[in-house]
Amino acid sequence: MPSKPLTLKFLDLASILAMVISTYLALVFAPQEVVMGNAQRIFYFHIGTAWVAMLGFILAALGGIIYLITKDLKWDRFELAAVEVSALFFLITICLGAIWARPVWNTWWTWDVRLTTAAVTELVFIAYLMLRQGLEDPEKRARFGAVYTLLGGLSVPVTFMVIRLFRTIHPVVVGSPSAEAQGGFNMDDRMVATFLFALVAFTIVFIDLFWHRVRLGALEEKVEQQKLKASL
């Protein structure tokens, strides 16, 4: 078994450090928001996790495309790792959002564009994982998985556009806000710094976890092969 690469060890340390600093920035360094108070501090991690979840979603679709072209199981592991890590982060995003929404919107959940799209994406991920579980042949599992991530990757943006036809209250902090948004605010410099650092921190954590998962996938495959050899 190949030992853990040095870069990965370094990334492990970097992600721990980045998370500690990011937590400090979000909870202490960033000023308190006037209207929402401390609840606004959730924003930094909410966007951080949402960003890497989206990143994972795109990586998964890319992995799917490359697998279908190359038929190399390496890309299947890449895709599965992206989906798993992304599903985890999306779940965190949704939970954090709900915790934030309770004081600000006075409800845990509303069928808003982003919320619904996030929920649907999470369901696509779960369906993907269930699909893989129902297939034993690794090659077929990889093919079906790739096809499904592609379909998901195409359908989720359309879902977003469709739900936008119904009205929304989700604030748009980065970019132009809609008139009906509730809970939006303007960021001061320290907030921007905290926000950007959180993005970087979560990107590091994502890459670290992603790398670990890809490595785990490779090891899993080796174990499977050894088992096959032993049974023959």
Partner: protein, 232 residues
């Protein structure tokens, strides 16, 4: 000059029509798929009638939703049946041996599935009109029904082909299909409700455009991906 002794490969449209004819004549003899779908559609409406207390006031807002939920559920039933018949008796392998393009097989299956779905809808709409004294025979609504069914079946045929090859088989289809097909259902509900409530075309066109865009994407993409879900 030597003349080829092999018969020429059938043209694309001929292959598609042959599969459609096969499905229709098989259905004409057994009538198991359509009868199940029709009875199921009626039952869904019956359940909605009591679950939602479909009086005049409620009906104004939920008719479109009830119709599309009925179509979606009945459609899943039909898709599962149509593909598991192919899988069970090894018919799919036979189809794959035929010297025709894989996409012709996809198109043929999708077309016959679409015909079954349209038959169910052609039955459900008048029954609903009769039961609740609303006129559902508006050209706009019929167009939405057609567009929505095309998108639903285009994705559904591909995913049903995948679902019947998994260990859990029929159970898998709704889990795989609904998150992906959600934009079709939402846009169809939105557009149908718009036509039923006599909204201006400008208010409906957004949903209609998305529906058409979805249909185009999800006819083209499964067409390319189908060979990956049937190859052994």
């Amino acid at each position: 000059m030597t003349e080829s002794t092999r018969p020429p490969a059938p043209s694309f449209s001929k292959a598609v029509l042959a599969i459609v004819r096969k499905d229709l004549s098989a259905e004409l003899r057994s009538r198991e798929l359509l009868s199940a779908m029709l009875v199921f559609a009626l039952l869904v409406i019956l359940i909605f009638n009591f679950a939602l207390e479909l009086d005049v006031k409620v009906r104004e807002t939920v008719t479109a939703g009830v119709l599309w939920t009925t179509f979606a559920f009945a459609g899943t039933l039909g898709l599962n049946r149509s593909m598991s018949v192919e899988k069970d008796r090894g018919c799919l392998d036979g189809l794959l041996l035929a010297p025709v393009d894989r996409s012709a097989i996809y198109f043929g299956k999708a077309l016959s599935n679409l015909i079954f779905m349209l038959i169910v809808e052609a039955f459900t709409l008048p029954v609903y009109s009769l039961l609740y004294n609303v006129n559902l025979f508006q050209p706009g609504l019929l167009l939405v029904v057609l567009l929505g069914s095309i998108g639903y079946i285009a994705v559904g045929t591909l995913l049903a082909t995948m679902a019947v090859q998994t260990r859990t088989r029929d159970v898998m289809l709704p889990i795989l299909l609904f998150p992906i097909v959600l934009p079709v259902l939402l846009a169809s509900v939105k557009a149908s409700a718009g036509f039923l409530n006599g909204l201006d075309f400008a208010e409906i066109s957004g949903a209609l455009n998305l529906l058409i865009a979805y249909d185009l994407i999800f006819i083209a993409v499964p067409l390319m991906l189908f060979e990956y879900v049937v190859e052994e």
